[in-house]
């Protein structure tokens, strides 16, 4: 079999004069996507009913950042996955018309959001609201100071239990909070933006845990625990601050109180989970000393990593109806023979690095990213710019389990490793550490 690795790269670099501190600006905005009631919700195959109400509004929260020459917007959505590619391109087009050069579309992976394929009108409204929020955030940009901090909290566990024979079994809920699951990453990455007068403008929180405290019996829209996390942070810091949740790589990480039945006070448990990470974040965020960046610079690079299907597509197609009972949307995704996976690397002010994957990466990828990233402040965003199912590590794919060797995995084994490597290579390129020309050196 011939395999092709093409680094199809879109480098978004602009010739750049040295920017001063006052050139680093940020603006925030949020919008209620206001999805229609009475449509199917997303996240659980086992959910029977349609949406009946709103527990907390389904939002888009946008932060726009500018170095004086280039503006980028990070749109975080309370959805199970980002919009499909046509909508993402539409949003980017609208943003460019408003002077925003690039938009990163990220979703929290809440399992209590709408299924937009069931409502074209709802989708159209949501896309417009996101476009408005991006424009609004960009129009409100103001000089900011930036600072970072790191915290730890345990709200989740690794839901794949590896038996002594090497096979994985699923272990969805861990109410007794057995702490010996592995691997788990309790790290909270916190980034604080302050206005020049010191008032906090935005707090970004990067953490990896499925937002699934609310289960399939819940028929009210909710962002799940990230919503309460944001409330906790905003109330704790007071004033006009907006909190953002950036989902990491929780492809194998569930909250201890997974799918809590409504009859067991699921809403309160969801809030408690959000408060726990919110309070852990506040302890860090309060201590962060923000400062103007030494030099403002926004750089990014998106590489497209080609991947073929993990499965024997012909065999699988013939068996979709009986052996695998899948809805048509999931079935169609599963039998794609090849996919282009966008991987974006963002470098802020030469100091903060972000990489994204378009699906559900297992937690080891974010741990490896931080370990291999050459900067002290490195953040990992899953569920970004696309949705191509789970990205298990090679070893996890071998051991099996949900997302590792189930129908929720679409791309070939090794795709996650390749994306991670390419995210890292892009970062080194943005840092100017990989020249496109060979160095001169004495031959052996």
């Amino acid at each position: 079999m011939l395999r092709v690795l093409i680094f199809l790269c879109v480098v978004l670099l602009v010739g750049h004069a040295v920017s001063g501190a006052e050139d680093f600006r940020a603006g925030v905005a949020k919008a209620d996507l206001d999805p229609p009631l009475g449509i199917p919700m997303s996240g659980y195959g086992a959910r029977k009913g349609i949406s009946q109400g709103v527990l907390d509004p389904v939002q888009a929260r946008v932060i726009a950042l500018s170095d004086g020459q280039r503006t980028i917007a990070l749109a975080t959505l309370d959805l199970v996955f980002p919009f499909d590619d046509p909508e993402i391109q539409k949003i980017r087009g609208a943003a460019r018309a408003k002077g925003v050069d690039e938009v990163i579309v990220h979703s929290s992976h809440t399992h209590s959001g709408p299924t937009y394929s069931a409502s074209p009108e709802g989708l159209s409204k949501a896309v417009s609201r996101v476009e408005e929020a991006i424009a609004s955030a960009a129009s409100r940009m103001t000089p900011v100071r930036i600072g970072t901090g790191w915290g730890v909290t345990f709200i989740g566990f690794n839901r794949r239990y590896v038996l002594p024979n090497g096979d994985a079994r699923m272990f969805w809920r861990n109410e007794p909070r057995i702490s010996s699951t592995f691997p788990v990453d309790p790290t909270i990455g916190v980034i604080r933006f302050d206005r020049t007068d010191g008032r906090p403008l935005a707090v970004l929180v990067n953490y990896a845990c499925h937002p699934v405290v609310l289960g399939p019996d819940n028929l009210n829209y909710s962002a799940d625990y990230p919503s309460e996390m944001r409330n906790t942070i905003e109330q704790g810091l007071g004033g006009e601050v907006m909190a953002f949740f950036l989902q990491g790589a929780p492809g194998d990480i569930n909250p201890y109180l997974d799918k809590t039945p409504l009859l067991e006070d699921a809403v309160a448990q969801m809030k408690r989970t959000g408060q726990k990470i919110g309070e852990a974040t506040l302890r860090v965020a309060r201590d962060i000393q923000t400062k103007a960046p030494a030099s403002a610079r926004i750089q990014s690079k998106t590489a497209v990593v080609p991947a073929v299907s993990r499965w024997d597509v012909d065999k699988l197609r013939a068996m979709l109806g009986d052996r695998y009972k899948l809805d048509p949307v999931r079935a169609a995704r599963l039998v794609r023979e090849s996919m282009d996976l966008p991987v974006t690397t963002l470098l802020l002010n030469h100091e903060l690095a972000f990489m994204t994957m378009p699906g559900e990466p297992f937690v080891e990828y974010q741990m490896q990213w931080r370990a291999r990233c050459p900067l002290p402040n490195c953040y990992f965003l899953g569920y970004t710019n696309g949705a191509f199912g789970y990205f298990p590590t090679i070893a996890a794919a071998v051991r099996g389990g949900y997302g590792a060797n189930s129908t929720a995995t679409q791309v070939e084994v090794g795709s996650g490793e390749r994306m991670l490597n390419i995210g890292l290579i892009s970062l080194y390129e943005l840092m100017g550490k990989l020249s496109p020309k060979p160095a001169g050196g004495a031959p052996n």
Partner: protein, 413 residues
């Protein structure tokens, strides 16, 4: 204690016939004529003036019934040929052929030149495969690994930038190095050792550009030592991920007893091989499985160009795994491979051509490419990340060969 280990203790030597594995070995002299241009150093002015020790192709064929493989291990710097594998299949029914070179820097230029000798060498390799094939015997394998420090990492990294230090006669510590010596012993039905395959990572560049005589460098000396100690056995050497590993006494001038240094290093490695072989454990009998693919990576300096790289992976149950890549992997890649393959014994065969495509040249790690240095940010052509990707592809092949990665999803989830 796991059941498998218990079984091994109870039946330390399974009768060879029950494994279904057959092996054959052969050796042929492939030394080029005097005057042939040499490879390894750019600054040699003339062709070879003579032969210090002959260059051989030493062949091990393994056949477990459905699958067979020929490991053609050569005292050469590099070698690219699809013809050898094609004819081995046609004439002798060999499923897969790996042409592995030790990377001696005192051999001829090969595929770059395509001299008449090159075609003769191909013919001789094919003949040697035929000879090994005709002399097959029921066999069992045993494996052990040991450690010996004979090389150092020639890239000195300071403040994130590498500078080269080619020689380290003082044996100062360096990083990373992998002292692992893998030994695979082939025994016949009577329990007699017929072949010892040695896999170790270090450039065979004890002899420098001043040497104009053909020599297999330290791997040749190691083979002579092992064969003198294990009479009747043939020793084969397969180079590992030596892309950044030099011998302590690199380029020891001939006038300063360069050949003595070669013999000393060969004997040191050979002694460790013998100690290791003495405690080798039988590899549980399992069918040999092999798969290959051509991975295309882009050219690092001309991204619009593709470089096809053929890789071959092979496994015998969970006991033995290997993968072959036709280039010079940095040593961390062999360490990563061993960790990721999750095999009883995982060996990276560097400098090993097998499945079509070209010679990949240096395969640095990503961080190596960033730090720079020889083979890292010059004298390398593959896209950054190609080394990691090849290893991951090989690991995935090995899991598939072992039946641990299915082509359909598990329907329980």
């Amino acid at each position: 204690m796991r059941p498998l280990a218990l079984l091994l203790l109870l039946f330390p030597t399974l009768p060879a016939a029950e494994t279904g594995l057959r092996a054959g070995v052969s050796r042929i002299d492939i030394t080029p004529p005097v005057g042939h241009p040499m490879g390894g150093y750019g600054n040699r002015k003339t062709g070879a003036t003579g032969t210090h020790d002959p260059l051989y192709a030493t062949v091990l064929v393994l056949d477990s019934g459905e699958t067979s493989i020929a490991l053609v291990t050569c005292d050469l710097r590099s070698f690219v040929s699809t013809r050898v594998g094609e004819l081995a299949r046609e004439k002798y029914g060999v499923g897969a052929t790996v042409i592995s070179v030790s990377h001696t820097h005192s051999g001829p230029l090969t595929w770059e030149l395509r001299s008449p000798w090159y075609t003769e060498a191909e013919d001789k390799m094919i003949a040697a495969i035929g000879e090994a094939r005709r002399a097959m015997f029921p066999a069992e394998l045993a494996f052990a690994s040991g450690q010996v420090y004979l090389g150092f990492n020639r890239r000195k990294v300071t403040n994130g930038r590498a500078t080269m230090w080619w020689r380290n006669a003082e044996k100062l510590p360096s990083h990373p190095v992998d002292p692992t010596v893998n030994t695979l012993t082939v025994r016949d039905a009577s329990g007699k050792t017929r072949a010892v395959l040695v896999n170790y990572a270090c450039h065979p560049s004890v002899l420098g550009p001043d040497n104009l005589e053909y020599s297999a460098d330290y791997p040749g000396a190691m083979k002579r030592y092992v064969e003198s100690q294990a009479s009747g056995a043939v020793c084969l050497f397969i180079q590992g991920g030596a892309g950044d590993i030099n011998p302590y006494r690199d380029k020891q001038p001939v006038k300063l007893d360069g050949f003595g240094a070669v013999n000393e290093m060969g004997a040191e490695l050979g002694k460790q091989v013998m100690v290791t072989v003495a405690r080798a454990k039988p590899v549980p009998a399992a069918p040999l499985k092999v798969s290959s693919e051509i991975v295309k990576v882009s050219n690092r300096w001309h991204p619009e160009q593709e470089i096809p790289i053929g890789l071959t992976a092979g496994a015998m149950g969970e006991g033995i795994c290997f993968m072959a890549v036709p280039g010079e992997p940095f040593v961390e890649l062999q360490m990563t491979f061993r960790e990721k393959a999750e095999c009883g014994a995982a060996m990276l065969f560097g400098y090993s051509y097998s499945a079509g495509g070209g010679w990949a040249g240096y395969l640095p790690t990503i961080i190596g490419a960033v730090e720079g240095g020889y083979g890292a940010d010059y004298n390398t052509n593959v896209a950054v990340g190609a080394g990691e990707m090849l290893i991951d592809r090989g690991v995935a092949h090995l899991f598939k060969l072992r039946g641990l990665l299915k082509d359909l999803p598990d329907s329980r989830f």
